[in-house]
């Protein structure tokens, strides 16, 4: 299994978590499965919306984007695409920055930890690490391919 396949699978897990939190936020799910109840403290706080949309909805969009990029990346057409690797690196990098900001808010502003949010932040970090490895491997492979003499 390649890094991009792994990225697609992990992004899908993140997508379901974000979707779960979004469905709670919009009222389709009544209560969150969260041991200490702090998930609701976080989800009901004023920090749970960003630019008029639930933060979880932004998370859903993020995971859809990463999933779609990774899925495209395993197709023959884009298997060697450095541009796609770079796009994944930028998107997942943004995901890490956003998750870090949300985790800071949980720890130092809201004073409550939402376990689903922590899992999502960990997933964002793993996705970024995978994207970084993929980008480096793609760049290295492209360089070595360029240096190799071709038969005429």
């Amino acid at each position: 299994m390649t890094r991009r396949m792994l990225t697609a699978l992990i992004a899908l897990v993140g997508l379901f978590i974000a979707l779960y939190l979004t469905l709670y936020k919009v009222g389709i799910i009544g209560t969150l499965a969260c041991g200490t109840g702090s998930c609701e403290t976080v989800q009901l706080s004023r920090w749970s919306t960003f630019l008029g949309l639930p933060v979880a909805a932004w998370g859903t969009a993020y995971y859809v984007a990463v999933f779609a990029l990774a899925l495209a990346g395993i197709q023959d057409r884009w298997e060697d695409s450095l541009r796609l690797s770079l796009t994944m690196l930028v998107v997942t990098g943004w995901g890490v920055v956003f998750s870090a900001w949300l985790t800071y808010l949980e720890l130092f502003v809201i004073h409550a930890i939402c376990r689903w949010c922590v899992v999502s932040a960990a997933i964002a970090l793993v996705l970024f690490a995978l994207a970084l490895l993929d980008w480096r491997a793609t760049r290295r492979a492209l360089r070595s391919a360029d240096d190799r003499p071709t038969h005429r």
Partner: protein, 282 residues
């Protein structure tokens, strides 16, 4: 679109043919992004993807299909709630609503700050219902007992509901996530209530009302309270922080059962309260 490059040989013999997409802007590479997947690898990937998709969709469908609130009928052989807890409203109200709540529970806080003001203004102050608060501190909340003790100690000085509101409004300042010294934080928060702080602090530190709180917990266990907040309205047990509209619908049903004409009255009594709340701790 794609431009082919031969490697390791000329023509289509033993050479490996890699497709180089025009969109890459660079040369093709053996191995692809993160290593190329064999047909078998891709098959396993799609199998894993399908399993994840089915599991994820099934899980989400399950939690979304579950009722948002648990409503059950109370066993009629269980005796009515005895006269304990803290009561707001008229003794002559037709229906008594009992809430089992935990001061540190976020859902209870959400109900207390979002729906309860309407409940008081439109249902309690109009004499339609009497509202009884029963303590149900949950063991998962480490700072909830000091809060319940503080509420009872404020009740001793006739300020239960003021303390109730203050605790719920400031839940994020004294809860287990915020502090290891809830007594001190709650004591500071309490100052604007104008209590005799010496008496209050002494009452809290000696856990004077612990037996009463425990009695309420036992009553909740006896009535099979599943979670907080749980409301007992008429013969219904509602285990959820319901919004005002749903709360009133349950009250209307209870009123209709209690006296046939009450439902009509309930639907026409909206707006300014007609009677001040009768607040007392019992």
């Amino acid at each position: 679109m794609g431009q082919e490059r031969m490697e390791g040989g000329r023509g289509g013999g033993a050479g490996v043919v890699k497709k180089q997409s025009a969109t890459t802007g660079g040369g093709g590479r053996p191995g692809g992004g993160g290593g190329s997947a064999s047909g078998g690898g891709k098959r396993w990937f799609y199998i894993a993807l399908a399993i994840l998709l089915v599991a994820g969709i099934a899980s989400l469908s399950y939690v979304a299909a579950r009722p948002k609130q648990s409503v059950s009928t109370i066993d009629s052989t269980i005796a009515p709630v005895p006269n304990q807890g803290h009561v707001m409203g008229s003794d002559s109200a037709t229906v008594e609503v009992v809430e089992f709540a935990d001061f540190e529970c976020p859902a209870c806080g959400s109900f207390a700050t979002l729906a309860e003001p309407d409940v008081r203004a439109r249902l309690v102050n109009t004499g339609l219902i009497r509202y009884r608060f029963m303590d149900f501190p949950l063991s998962m909340h480490r700072n909830t007992w000091p809060a319940h003790l503080a509420a009872w100690c404020a009740a001793e000085q006739g300020k239960f509901w003021e303390m109730h509101d203050l605790l719920f409004m400031n839940q994020d300042r004294w809860n287990g996530e915020a502090t290891n010294r809830p007594d001190r934080v709650i004591s500071n928060l309490t100052k604007p209530l104008g209590l005799d702080m010496g008496q209050f602090d002494n009452c809290v530190s000696t856990r004077k009302y612990q037996p009463q709180i425990q009695a309420n917990v036992n009553e909740g266990i006896r009535l099979k309270v599943p979670s907080t907040p749980t409301f007992i309205i008429g013969n219904k047990r509602i285990a959820a922080a319901v919004p005002y509209d749903e709360f009133k619908r349950q009250v209307d049903e209870a009123l209709a059962q209690a006296r046939p004409n009450a439902a009509t009255k309930a639907t026409t009594t909206k707006g300014a309260p007609t009677k001040a709340a009768n607040t007392k701790a019992r």
